[in-house]
């Protein structure tokens, strides 16, 4: 096979694979713009008339609007807390000759392998006991804990990348260790903090099991739960569901696609331990 033909072959294969990957999403996107009456009539596959009726329904739906607020608040707070707690823990793990360092990191990573189903019942009982059910806190705390292992792991890798000299210089200037972390290392590791934040925000945004269990009303319901429970009393409202799916997917999509280079670098460094 000639080089040119082989290139063409690989281009065509890639294009087909990309089309297959995008198809479920594109179909949902097309569906969200189809008027209700045309939904179950195929062909035509493309909308003959583009309509925003489903988006109007979905955005006027109080439960979903509220769920977007809940998800944004819960995930933002959990992410910031995880970055704070994670950066503190990552500092000695990355920058000092700590005894049992590998054991610490292995233990922290091991925590992320625990199936959530093993945690959910004791957490549920604890949350009931504390009267936290159906509050933001009932999700913020577990999300903080669940994203902490990956956060520590990634931030350790990022902090380790920084040159030792900056730290030494600051220490000679009489800077405390907390000051070194806060004023010197974290600003230098800002891209790493940011990509870590993006990754865990998206994981938390998409979490379903705990959100389903610990929420009961619009007061704390997050978007995956609101979408799973989206009202369909007589028939499944496919058009509204499609529009709702697109709306709740926009924040994670924008974050991952907008910052995909950073996310890729973060995961490669953190998971494979390589730059």
């Amino acid at each position: 096979m000639g080089r040119g033909r082989s290139r063409l072959f690989s281009d065509l294969t890639l294009a087909l694979l990309l089309a297959a990957t995008a198809l479920p999403f594109l179909w949902q996107l097309l569906t969200s713009f189809k008027p209700e009456a045309d939904l179950l009539r195929l062909p035509p596959f493309l909308p003959e008339r583009w309509s925003l009726e489903h988006y109007a329904t979905v955005l006027a739906h109080p439960g979903l609007a509220r769920a977007l607020i809940n998800s944004t608040g819960i995930c933002l707070i959990a992410t910031l807390l995880a970055l704070g707690v994670g950066a503190l823990a990552a500092y000695p793990l990355a920058r000092t000759p700590l005894r049992g360092q590998r054991l610490w990191l292995a233990g922290i990573l091991g925590a992320s392998l625990l199936p959530v189903i093993a945690l959910v019942s004791p957490l549920y009982l604890g949350i009931r006991l504390l009267g936290l059910r159906d509050t933001w806190l009932a999700l913020i705390l577990p999300y903080l804990a669940l994203s902490l292992p990956l956060t520590v792991w990634l931030l350790t890798a990022f902090l380790r990348e920084l040159p030792r000299e900056v730290e030494e210089a600051a220490r000679l200037d009489g800077c405390s260790r907390f000051g070194i972390l806060w004023r010197i290392l974290l600003p230098l590791a800002a891209p790493g903090l940011f990509s870590t934040g993006v990754i865990i925000f998206v994981f938390n945004w998409n979490e379903f099991l705990l959100a389903l269990t610990f929420t009961a009303t619009d007061a704390s319901r997050t978007v995956p739960v609101a979408l799973a429970l989206f009202p369909g009393i007589h028939e499944v409202p496919w058009g509204d569901l499609a529009a709702a799916s697109i709306v709740v997917s926009l924040p994670p999509l924008a974050l991952i696609l907008g910052f995909h280079r950073w996310v890729v670098r973060g995961l490669t460094l953190g998971v494979l331990g390589q730059r």
Binding site: T31, I117, A118, L125, R177, L267, V271, G273, Q274
Partner: protein, 293 residues
């Protein structure tokens, strides 16, 4: 630099959070599995190993275990082939690569619930895209994909693999970048041929990365919940009910916290055994991120 005693103030918050919200519940679930516990009615009595004795003779448990194993093996296999294949194709190109990569990553950003809703609509028997295309092509009409036990498990596998393949793609692509360029070229010069070069040169060098991807994805597939809960709810006739879905329904459907805990412990043990097995296989070949800088 001498060892400083003061790492604890920095580690303490993380240790408290992980201890209270990961370690404590994991230990508590073992205790819970030794009880008959129905929270709403305030029933709590110690019953020893009764829940485990029941579990061993519970056909629904064995079916869920089998379903979980099948789901895990098929979906991870699919992800490796699909994600690895795309990575190999993407690896050699420079033009438009960022854009293509972003396109392939798209499903990974979506919530599992969204993936489930998308496939539910694609597979809708009367008027969904798949059956309409089949009909137009003169294929069989009106297959009830999610209602037929033979199809339903594969539908949920597809919905899950679609969303998780990009993760495997990312790792394999990163692994390929780590292999020095000369190695690929040397193999080509030796006239090893594409396929033999791949099997004898690329694949062994890629093994550690494949191991890590396999470990992470296997553990993740083992605890799958959202796609199945939303797409089939475990049906039809329990054929898509995995361990996590069964345990969840035991907890929050029938409120049997004791037996649910026994099921959760079984899931936990399965994850630990698999992780332990993988680490034995993979660890010697991997340069872990934990290695000193």
């Amino acid at each position: 630099m001498t060892r400083r005693p003061g790492a604890w103030p920095f580690l303490l918050p993380a240790v408290v959070v992980l201890g209270a919200i990961q370690l404590y519940p994991t230990l508590a679930v073992f205790w819970l599995s030794l009880e008959r516990r129905i929270p709403v009615f305030e029933v709590a009595e110690f019953v020893g190993l009764a829940n485990y004795r029941f579990l061993l003779e519970d056909p629904r448990f064995w079916q869920a275990l089998g379903t979980t194993a099948y789901f895990t093996v098929v979906s991870v296999g699919l992800e490796l082939l699909w994600g690895g294949g795309i990575a190999l194709l993407l690896h050699r190109r420079r033009r438009l690569r960022g854009l293509l990569l972003a396109g392939f990553l798209l499903p990974w950003a979506l919530p599992g619930v969204v993936s489930a809703k998308m496939f539910e609509w694609l597979l809708y028997p009367d008027g969904g895209l798949v059956n309409s295309l089949l009909g137009a092509a003169g294929g069989p009409a009106g297959i009830n994909w999610l209602g037929d036990p033979a199809w339903a498990i594969h539908a949920v596998i597809l919905a899950d693999a679609w969303r998780t393949t990009p993760f495997v793609l990312l790792l394999v692509l990163a692994g390929l970048e780590l292999i020095p360029h000369e190695v690929h070229e040397a193999a080509a010069v030796d006239g090893a041929g594409r396929w033999r070069g791949f099997v004898h040169v690329t694949l062994p060098l890629l093994a550690p990365v494949l191991g890590v991807a396999l470990l992470i994805r296997t553990i993740d597939a083992l605890r799958v919940f959202d796609v199945i809960y939303v797409l089939t709810g475990g049906g039809p006739a329990g054929t898509t009910e995995t361990l996590t879905v069964y345990a969840y329904r035991t907890f929050f459907g029938t409120l049997q916290f004791g037996y649910g805990a026994a099921l959760a412990v079984a899931t936990l043990l399965a994850a630990l055994i698999l992780a332990g097995g993988y680490l034995r296989l993979v660890a010697p070949a991997t340069r872990p991120a934990a290695e000193g800088a």
